[in-house]
Symmetry: C2
Subunit: 381 residues, 2 copies
């Protein structure tokens, strides 16, 4: 797959509490923005297949209505919170196989208005509640464990929140566009200790589309395509007796290694990354799981400022899930879109200078936490 697939367009919508926009409205807006983003233009008739990433069913036909893309094949993927990334990965396989030349990947979720059908997520939440483990509580356990083993503190968590809110304040599509401070984060109401209100991503509506093509076709659409250099996906077991130290996600380590191996690259080659920060602790664990920091030293990157916009390895320039929001199916696709913009130099106020390789990373919980899913892509200019 390495180098065989290129991203040639990306379209975001402003994430937020979009009560005035339907599931279809969001897809349509992201789709039209995506079409418009293609440098040399694209005729929708050139799109040969689609992949819909959404926790909401039913079927790929849900992508056809708002895009008028009938009479082509549309698959639907769902893989917990890594849904959008899984859809992107499957679309890349199809293009790399030589069967499909131009594909649309759409991630979308209506989170704030469940009447339209966010039944899958509601169901998941039910399973979790029945086991007395809400999402914040689950991740909080990882936080206390990291603190106990490695000496991280609530201040380190707060530094993730302050950084990502700062980035989000500069990113036009973010749900939350305000700055915060260490003091405010620490004094916010506790959701599940050590996670306070500003340590948690919001509940957000959103959609994002990207267009991918075979490497050969890419130059027709743009002089600056971005290539898919690596892809990884893994499931791990969250059964307590299988877990080495409860801190970090084995699936992320494996998915990362798969992606690095395919790309022939190492963590030190990555210049910018969009990583899964559903909670502040998650981002610190990601640093370690993805090889940006040694085990138990993730929080030190924050002390050193390395992961800020001005640092040597900026993490979540878009504000991440913490500030941008986390509309399940859209989250992974939006991460791809942001890395695409960064590598093309079109990321606006959050542009990192001189970046040629970027990484995207997306975690999902599986089936009442008996397993976690992690998906990683490496993009290259």
């Amino acid at each position: 797959m390495k180098g065989k697939v290129a991203v040639i367009g990306a379209g975001m919508i402003k994430f937020g509490e979009l009560f005035e926009k339907s599931f279809d409205d969001m897809i349509e807006e992201a789709y039209l923005n995506c079409l418009k983003s293609v440098d040399n233009g694209i005729d929708p008739k050139e799109i040969e297949a689609g992949w819909l990433g959404s926790a909401r069913g039913m079927s790929g036909a849900a992508l056809s209505m708002p895009t008028s893309l009938w009479d082509i094949g549309i698959s639907r993927n769902e893989n917990g919170c890594a849904t959008g990334s899984d859809a992107f990965r499957n679309a890349c396989f199809a293009v790399a196989s030589g069967v499909i030349d131009v594909a649309l990947v759409c991630g979308v979720e209506k989170m704030r208005d469940a009447s339209g059908g966010l039944i899958a997520i509601a169901a998941m939440a039910d399973i979790w509640r029945a086991r007395a483990r809400t999402m914040p509580a689950f991740f909080a356990l990882r936080g206390t464990r990291h603190m106990h083993l490695y000496g991280s503190t609530r201040e380190h968590l707060a530094m993730v929140s302050v950084k990502n809110h700062h980035n989000g304040s500069l990113y036009p599509y973010a749900h939350y566009r305000f700055e915060t401070t260490i003091d405010k984060v620490l004094k916010a109401p506790i959701v599940s200790w050590p996670l306070g209100l500003y340590d948690c991503c919001p509940v957000t509506d959103g959609a994002c589309c990207v267009l991918i093509t075979s490497a050969e076709k890419a130059k027709k659409y743009t002089d600056t395509p971005v290539y898919v250099a690596g892809s990884g996906l893994s499931v791990d077991s969250w059964m307590r007796h299988n877990d080495e130290n409860l801190s970090g996600f084995p699936a992320s380590v494996i998915a990362g290694k798969q992606a690095y191996k395919m790309a022939g690259l190492e963590p030190k080659d990555i210049k910018v990354a969009e990583i899964h920060d559903c909670f502040t602790i998650t981002e610190i664990l990601d640093y370690e799981d993805l090889g940006f920091a040694k085990k138990g030293e993730g929080h030190l990157l924050l002390e050193e400022g390395i992961v800020e916009l001005s640092g040597s390895l900026p993490m979540n320039p878009s504000g991440g899930l913490i500030a941008k929001g986390h509309p399940i199916g859209a989250s992974g696709v939006a991460q791809i879109a942001e890395i695409y913009e960064q590598l093309r130099g079109t990321a606006g106020k959050v542009q990192i200078s001189d970046v040629d390789v970027g990484l995207q990373h997306n975690i999902g919980l599986g089936r009442g936490a008996t397993g976690s899913v992690s998906c990683v892509h490496i993009l290259k200019r």
Copy 2:
């Protein structure tokens, strides 16, 4: 993709009202049967990735628990009633891309006991009921239209039911294993005219697994692999004003053409087929949509006996959805499994002699019937 992917194993479980078996139980049994089916044996450690086809969420991790396949990537596909076929197709892309050498595809559905989470299907049913269109009512419309335009009768529908129940009576994994008669079918209670009780597939629990590999690796596992020659997927619009004559499914025509084109084959080359017969009328429409009969002449194949086990083009030797049952995610994978057995000559009492090319066809309804999905695969010895 043509010829790059091979099926090297398949494992069914007996479909039925499996109140005594959980979602996980069904997967485990199909998985173990699939492993055992591989001629030269396979170590589960050789499986590099999995695809789960199920209308039930959440995430690919649901396949890990009953198979102990952790630390590999598992995607989940859902595409209405074509869910299992879509999972198979995406797995084939991954193998054809060269990234994955050995993949497991599992289709599974718990239909008779919704307490465990068949919420997605329940949701779909809700949408349908709200629009006063149940599944039988929707397909019945197609039936009356076909009768009006082309002169087919309830007797023709009954011939599909009698044929498929006969086949099912010989197929060990079928839900219903009894014969019926034209008279019984015609006198059965009407569900939605012209469809009576025996014109409708049952509500069935089931699971099925298949193992696929790259063509190069296949010979390691068996001397008689079956190759994926063609694959097609399409969505069409079921908006009434877009529909030419309401009889037939444009998505099936398109998906069929895609698959025939990839395979370099024509309908006349197909020796056996497993096609989507959720209702008897559907099978007649399939004959026309897939090119086995001219438009408006599908029912004539039944008069001529061509589609019986002893005919020149046997359709649904396994009993089809009508007799075998239709556990959403499992249905498409089970069709692939049956064609695999037919082409290897291991289909037992329903074996068709001298078959080298087979076709699989699976329809799904999308999003409250605004679109339909159709998936076709052609397998070759």
